[in-house]
């Protein structure tokens, strides 16, 4: 006791030293809510991972590891999963964590009001076995279920009930601004759009690897301002660093760049089902993109290495399928992809009856992906060189999705990051024939449809054997490539910038995990 006291006195005496452990970081988008079930978006979930925890979590290598559950196993032949919960965990308000909170969080996150309900579509029932054991039953065997709930965060049932936040509400409720998780940090001050202040959760169950005493998140939209803030030392960390500034930052003594490959694949999409082009000056009666040869011509026409070299400054990697190599289920066997070859592109176009080319409209967001507008501009130029004359219409993302939903495009740019880190994810959302009931193909704007892909998906979803599963994933990847359903371009890079005295860990899902940060 006495020793503890003198230690505290020592800290107090060197109070200014504590400032060194203050950490400020800037992101482009402020997490729009503090409710872990209200919005299923990377900025929200990524940030809340520091405050709330799930039954499982991802480690530095993206592998699933125990969090609030210490272990889990398949029940029987795959009727469900049993999770053994960690004991002695307390929420930040002091309440104890029990199986009731897991059940409550399931009901909350799977409710109609929640944006996370799709995670639980395979779940038939959640059964509380005892205070620290929970069975999650699935409608069919689900080998990747633990992978799919890494972002399912557990909320204290008592706290939610006391504060009238039993269900998420897009109009906002107590949980929109306040938090009570089991995570390593608790929020002490939240001013939306301005700052969010975090302090370590004193009673956290884990071993703290960080040395932060206070952390502050500030949204800075303008990339130049964010960069200036990092260079001038006003913030310790920014995400993202504009790719063009990477080279310069690397030479900067006080700043370092942490680079990696993100899970997000950037691709071009087509109107498979459209009768005719919407924005063509001459080809108004036909839809050239319905012809796989034309789509393949597009793939041949685009000089991806040049885009990577110039626009992405060597930070991105080319990819030939809808997921990046870091994802589970990535197909290594895929072959025969279209490489940059303008002659081949012209040949295919001529073969398809478009020897003179045609004009069309390319839609592109201008604030969604890294350098999205610049990439689209480059693509416009490259396609023009083989006779496909695109008119580029770049717009903010809030106009972009409605346009795509209204089928106002002849070609579009899309980025996809699989929330499950599994190759099944893009098949479900981008390659399945759209089906509202089954929640399939909800981002398949062009209505691409292939019977074999539709047939394989449910089997992939329930196959427990990894080898068999991979074979089916390989088959789907090959079909999508052969038909050029999409033209995958590259995997978007992760580029973080930090002051030289900061140690941190970059995870491919672009989540910034505060408990891995050390201020030197």
């Amino acid at each position: 006791m006495l020793r503890k006291l003198s230690y505290a006195a020592l800290i107090a005496a060197f109070a200014p030293a504590a400032y060194a452990e203050e950490f400020t970081w800037a992101v482009t988008t402020d997490p729009q809510t503090m409710d872990p079930h209200a919005v299923n978006s990377a900025p929200v979930l990524g940030f809340l991972n520091n405050v709330y925890e799930g039954l499982v979590r991802r480690g530095q290598d993206m592998a699933i590891e125990p969090a609030l559950a210490t272990s889990w196993e398949l029940i029987g032949a795959g009727e469900g999963w049993r999770f053994n919960l960690r004991e002695g965990v307390t929420f930040q308000d002091g309440a104890a964590f029990t199986a009731q909170d897991v059940l409550f969080s399931y009901e909350r996150a799977a409710s109609e009001e929640a944006d996370t309900s799709s995670w639980f579509s395979p779940v038939s029932e959640v059964v509380v076995v005892d205070d620290f054991t929970v069975d999650i039953m699935t409608t069919s065997p689900n080998p990747i279920f633990p992978d799919s709930i890494a972002n399912w965060m557990i909320m204290d049932s008592g706290w939610a009930e006391a504060n009238d936040a039993v269900r998420p509400n897009p109009d906002g409720n107590y949980a929109t601004l306040n938090t009570n998780g089991t995570g390593a940090f608790s929020i002490t001050n939240r001013e939306p759009g301005l700052r969010t202040v975090l302090e370590p959760h004193a009673d956290w169950w884990g071993e703290a690897a960080h040395n932060i005493t206070r952390a502050e998140l500030t949204p800075i939209q303008n990339p130049a301002t964010a960069l200036a803030a990092l260079l001038s030392g006003d913030v310790d960390f920014i995400n993202p660093v504009p790719v063009q500034d990477v080279a310069r930052l690397k030479n900067h003594a006080n700043v370092k760049v942490i680079q990696g490959i993100e899970a997000r694949v950037i691709m071009l999409g087509f109107p498979h089902e459209a009768e005719a082009l919407k924005y063509s000056a001459e080809t108004t009666q036909a839809n050239p993109f319905a012809d796989p040869r034309v789509r393949r011509a597009v793939a041949h026409a685009i000089n991806v290495p040049a885009i990577l070299q110039t626009t992405m400054r060597g930070t991105a990697e080319a990819v030939n399928q809808l997921v990046s190599p870091a994802m589970r289920g990535y197909s290594d066997t895929l072959g025969g992809e279209a490489v940059f070859d303008q002659a081949a592109a012209r040949g295919l176009l001529a073969e398809a009856g478009y020897a003179d080319g045609f004009s069309f409209g390319l839609k592109c967001p201008n604030d969604r992906y890294l350098n999205d507008e610049a990439v689209c501009q480059a693509i416009t130029a490259m396609l023009a060189q083989v006779g496909m004359r695109a008119t580029l219409d770049a717009m903010p993302v809030q106009n972009y999705w409605p346009e795509l939903r209204a089928d106002n495009y002849d070609m579009y740019l899309l980025g996809w990051s699989p929330g499950t880190f599994d190759a099944e994810h893009p098949i479900r959302f981008l390659a399945s024939t759209p089906n509202e009931e089954k929640r399939l193909g909800s981002w398949n704007f062009g209505g691409y449809s292939n019977a074999r892909v539709d047939e394989l998906l449910p089997i992939i979803q329930s196959e427990v054997d990894d080898l068999k599963r991979q074979a089916m994933l390989d088959e789907v990847a090959q079909i999508l490539q052969d038909e050029t359903a999409y033209v995958p371009l590259y995997v978007q890079p992760l580029v973080w910038g930090a002051r030289a005295n900061i140690d941190l860990v970059q995870r491919p899902d672009n989540f910034f995990i505060l408990r891995w940060v050390t201020v030197n």
């Binding site: 729009q32 939306p192 759009g193 301002t225 001038s232 929330g419």
Partner: protein
């Protein structure tokens, strides 16, 4: 005067109604808020459900009427993005913008009038001509570029001033002020220069031309013929008369400052209502956009009213004309 003010207020109310209508009709074209509120695993049914919940499925007149009804009671609804009452958010953000606007407004007015008077009195002097020409540089570059260049020079290269934000703030009542802390004051410098430069130039040029106009008036010649000191002529006689038309414009410029703050706040990440508005546009946060435009209009109307009332104190002719009920 009371009748006059009442007439102005009635006119203002009409203006507000028109602004509200225009603003509201605009939002339908800004984009769709739904996509920003739902994640990537949403379905078409989710979209429809949320649309219904937000009342976006109703017809435009119905939406507008509801908006007016609520707005009249000071209720601007809940922000789609933050899930909090819009009025509360605006109140929280307003001090930042008002302080920035006040400081840059003060800079613009003080330097604008000083330079304007100087260049008018020393009409053909070298320094006056230099100031006149140099001031044009300030209006020949877009504000955002000036801001970025200032950041580049003073924050990144020289490291003297913070590159973004408001520094530390102190809470006084419901008002958060950055004027009482060293970091807060330092943080104010670059944004207020960026914001005030353009207005300063306008005010300076206006003061100069009005002052030149006044200086050739008979009463100035008469004052000169009476042997009054130059100081008295320039400041007591000329400047006071110059201020009559200048005050209107300054009033309008103050309004413009608040609007131009949108750009400055974006560049400097200044946590005011302008940044809030830009974010709201980005996320199609319709209640926030509507409330912002209403707030801005109310402010303009208020400023205009204040300008009108100021006239009564500056110009005795109006006192008689209007109070006398001519």
């Amino acid at each position: 005067m009371l009748a006059y003010i009442i007439r102005r207020i009635v006119q203002s109310a009409l203006v507000l109604l028109v602004v509200g209508l225009t603003a509201f009709s605009m939002f339908r074209f800004v984009g769709d808020p739904i996509d920003n509120m739902l994640g990537q695993e949403r379905t078409a049914a989710d979209i429809e459900r949320l649309r219904e919940q937000l009342g976006l499925d109703q017809s435009f007149p119905v939406q507008y009427f509801k908006f007016l009804q609520e707005a009249a009671q000071g209720n601007f609804g809940m922000s789609y993005r933050q899930g909090r009452p819009v009025a509360e958010i605006l109140m929280e953000r307003a001090p930042a913008t008002l302080e920035l606007a006040a400081v840059s407004g003060a800079l613009a007015i003080i330097f604008g009038i000083a330079f304007g008077v100087f260049t008018a009195i020393r009409r053909n002097g070298f320094l006056a001509n230099f100031i006149m020409s140099a001031s044009l540089v300030g209006v020949s570059l877009p504000t955002f570029l000036i801001g970025i260049l200032l950041i580049y020079i003073f924050s990144v290269e020289l490291g003297w001033l913070p590159s973004f934000g408001r520094g530390d703030t102190v809470q006084i009542g419901g008002w958060s002020t950055g004027l009482l802390t060293a970091t807060g004051l330092k943080a104010l410098i670059l944004p207020s220069i960026t914001l005030g430069l353009y207005q300063m130039t306008l005010i300076m040029r206006l003061v100069r031309s009005e002052m030149l106009e006044v200086l050739r008036q008979d009463y100035i010649r008469f004052a000169r013929a009476r042997g009054l000191h130059d100081r008295a002529i320039n400041f007591r006689h000329a400047l006071k008369n110059t201020m009559v038309p200048v005050i209107t414009v300054i009033g309008l410029q103050l309004g413009a400052i608040i609007a131009f703050a949108i750009i400055t706040e974006t560049v400097f990440q200044w946590p005011g209502v302008g940044l809030l508005f830009i974010n709201a546009v980005q996320f199609v946060d319709i209640p926030v956009m509507a409330a912002y435009l209403m707030l801005i209009s109310v402010m303009f109307v208020g400023i205009n009213l204040i300008v009108d009332i100021l006239y009564f104190f500056i110009d005795p002719r109006l006192r008689v004309d209007r109070a006398g009920g001519h």
